[in-house]
């Protein structure tokens, strides 16, 4: 349920007591959009930020992009701004395209489209000249009333198809720029219905088109993007079994008695499981945490004919009678994923309250088996797992998590850590980035939080620029061991100036932390620096709430207090327990 404005204002009273990281948002608009501020502040707060919002001048978007000043006489955005939201309502810009479409000649129509696209392009170019903030452009709204009614959908050159074409052309402009995204308002309208979306009372004398519910949904949608770009998206979904994955209790109802089927009463659970399988394909780690006899649960997984979720979809599990908070902690350790990237779903208020209390970092969802028809929507509507990257690697991620889980178990058995690592038979390969690896490297900069010295987030286009820049080297590391090929799990960006190589980015996927891979990687980085004939390698550490474990990484490797290493006289050696470390 969406909170009311009063409830949100109550929640926001807590913000000033917490020392949260600031997040600067600028709103450029040709409508009255000020009422969205509390919603932006609320969703920022939920993501651990304190939003600082500045609002551009009414219907002055392009001018505001050329140094416009806000009401407080300060620039509306600067190079420090994190995010720019653009509300560009078609009615205000082109009455013809939005409302008077039928009187347009084909020539006039094309010239209006051109004027529109030109404005979009100029606005974005002006923004990009000044800052690299994320730009969220709120897209075209579906016309409330189609200009030709039902005939509209039968024609090629109707208003509807013209606007669809316009939308595609806008997206083309966005894709040529870095960090510009299209937020589909038609989607937001679908979520709450067109009658709830608009409040026409304030349109004619206030130029405010949207209802509070609409602004809430829009702000929520905006933060799906912001969270994904800030690495705040969730990575693991922990599932209860009885009355969550199926209806009923396996211990009492037996495999033939539980509700799980494509049709009928078990249909809700079947639908829900399909949603879970989809999350698995998107790279979300699914884990089980239930109070059952383990063999009963696996019997359902292996034997129930309508079970869509299979063992292979499960990255980790704790099926026992111990407390769930402790079990979720164990799952987080075994997968090496932070608890703040966890979502837990259960039908028991006791369990959900306990986890909320003991592990406040975990996002908790309580479901009601009497309303099991809502399960699918509950998980589908959250946006918790939304990411702006998708690649074939994602559906393989569970295999890697399972391997990680296996490694951790083996680790517990082997007493001596070096001996354990030697048994893994790790083979490291470090290479210069090429076209094929750019996407994965960008993805790593987006996702990696723990072993990340600078936590700089880059898009594919950014990485591409580095790769083609003569004063930069982009290196990636891939790792194989007895459990399989982990693929590309590390990246470094070096920038050269004079006799210094600056390490702009040094990161390792959390799956491979704690194995000395970083030392092997650094040894190759130094080799790369030597190829460029520089004398000094300089590191950088930018602290965040998550990367404390690497705060002394460079000093441990022999760098001085200014994080410099003279590579004429010093080097870093890869640990002996690696089977091979190859740099080519």
């Amino acid at each position: 349920m969406n909170l009311s404005l009063s409830e949100i204002q109550q929640e926001l009273k807590q913000v000033s007591n917490r020392k949260l990281q600031g997040y600067r948002i600028a709103v450029l608009r040709n409508i009255t959009a000020e009422s969205i501020i509390p919603y932006l502040q609320y969703y920022a707060f939920k993501s651990g930020f304190e939003a600082k919002v500045s609002i551009g001048n009414y219907d002055n978007i392009l001018q505001d992009c050329h140094g416009g000043l806000g009401a407080d006489n300060k620039p509306i955005f600067t190079s420090e701004t994190d995010c720019i939201l653009i509300f560009f309502k078609l009615e205000v810009f082109s009455w013809f395209l939005a409302r008077d479409f039928l009187s347009l000649s084909p020539e006039k129509r094309e010239s209006e489209i051109e004027r529109f696209l030109d404005y979009v392009e100029q606005t974005l170019q002006a923004i990009r000249k000044q800052c690299s903030a994320v730009v969220l452009w709120h897209g075209l709204e579906t016309p409330i009333y189609k200009s030709l009614g039902i005939m509209e959908d039968q024609m090629r050159d109707s208003q509807t198809s013209t606007l669809k074409r316009l939308e595609v052309q806008m997206k083309d402009i966005f894709s040529r720029l870095t960090n510009v995204f299209y937020v589909d308002l038609a989607d937001c309208i679908t979520q709450i219905g067109i009658n709830s979306f608009y409040d026409n009372r304030f349109w004619h004398f206030g130029a405010a088109p949207y209802s509070l519910d609409a602004l809430n949904v829009i702000a929520k949608e905006d933060f799906k993007y912001i969270n994904a770009l800030k690495g705040k998206n969730k990575k693991c979904l922990v599932l209860d079994c009885d009355n969550t994955l199926w209806g009923g209790i396996i211990d009492e109802d037996g495999i033939d008695g539980i509700k799980l089927s494509k049709h009928g009463l078990g249909g809700s659970f079947y639908d829900f499981q399909q949603e879970l399988v989809n999350l698995h394909h998107r790279g979300v780690a699914l884990a089980l945490c239930s109070k059952n006899n383990e063999e009963d649960v696996w019997e359902v997984f292996d034997m129930h004919p309508e079970m869509l979720l299979k063992r292979e979809h499960i990255a980790a599990y704790e099926i026992n009678w111990e407390d769930k908070a402790g079990n979720i902690k164990k799952i987080s350790e075994s997968l090496n994923l932070g608890l703040d990237s966890f979502v837990f779903i259960d039908d028991s208020p006791f369990e959900t309250d306990m986890v909320r209390e003991i592990l406040p970092q975990v996002e908790v969802i309580l479901v009601d088996p009497k309303q099991s028809f809502d399960y699918r929507q509950v998980i589908g509507s959250t946006g918790y797992f939304d990411s702006l990257q998708y690649s074939a690697v994602d559906s393989q991620r569970t295999k890697m998590y399972q391997a990680e889980s296996g490694r951790r178990k083996l680790q517990k058995r082997s007493g001596c850590i070096d001996e354990f690592l030697e048994k893994l038979g790790m083979e490291v390969t470090v290479k210069f980035a090429d076209e094929k690896s750019i996407h994965r490297i960008a993805q790593l900069t987006q996702r990696t939080n723990q072993f990340n010295l600078t936590t700089k987030r880059y898009s594919d286009a950014d990485i591409k620029k580095f790769v083609h820049n003569d004063t930069c080297d982009v290196l990636y590391l891939s790792l194989k061991d007895k459990y399989g090929d982990a693929g590309i799990v590390g990246a470094v960006i070096l920038q050269f100036s004079g006799d210094i190589a600056e390490i702009d980015t040094f990161l390792l996927s959390c799956r491979v932390i704690g194995r000395g891979v970083e030392n092997a990687f650094l040894s190759c980085v130094i080799e790369a620096a030597r190829l460029r004939k520089v004398e000094i390698v300089r590191g950088e550490y930018l602290p965040t709430s998550k990367n404390q474990q690497v705060s002394d990484f460079y000093s441990r490797c022999g760098f001085d207090e200014k994080l410099r290493l003279n590579i004429m006289d010093n080097s870093v050696d890869a640990p002996a327990y690696f089977r091979s470390v190859v740099f080519d």
Partner: protein, 79 residues
């Protein structure tokens, strides 16, 4: 909570003032943040809280706490 208390609570939240600053005698001129923008927010928040929908006339005319309470009670059939 009666209508008057609810109205005052919403106004306190929207205009970010302490409850003592809002009485039945308060008008839009007395409250610094009661501008046209926050007026819209106030109307919308009252509607959310009370489950009603004011008409076009009411939206522009309710510029004092007294008027808001009277109109709202009328809407709720309390007068």
């Amino acid at each position: 909570m009666d209508v008057q208390e609810k109205v005052i609570q919403v106004l306190v939240n929207i205009f970010q003032v302490s409850p003592e600053k809002i009485s039945t005698k308060t008008t839009s001129d007395d409250v610094e943040k009661w501008d046209s923008l926050n007026h819209i927010n106030m109307i919308l928040a009252l509607e959310q809280e009370l489950g009603i929908r004011y008409d076009q006339e009411q939206v522009v005319s309710m510029l004092s706490v007294r008027e808001i309470i009277d109109e709202t009670k009328g809407m709720l059939g309390l007068q």
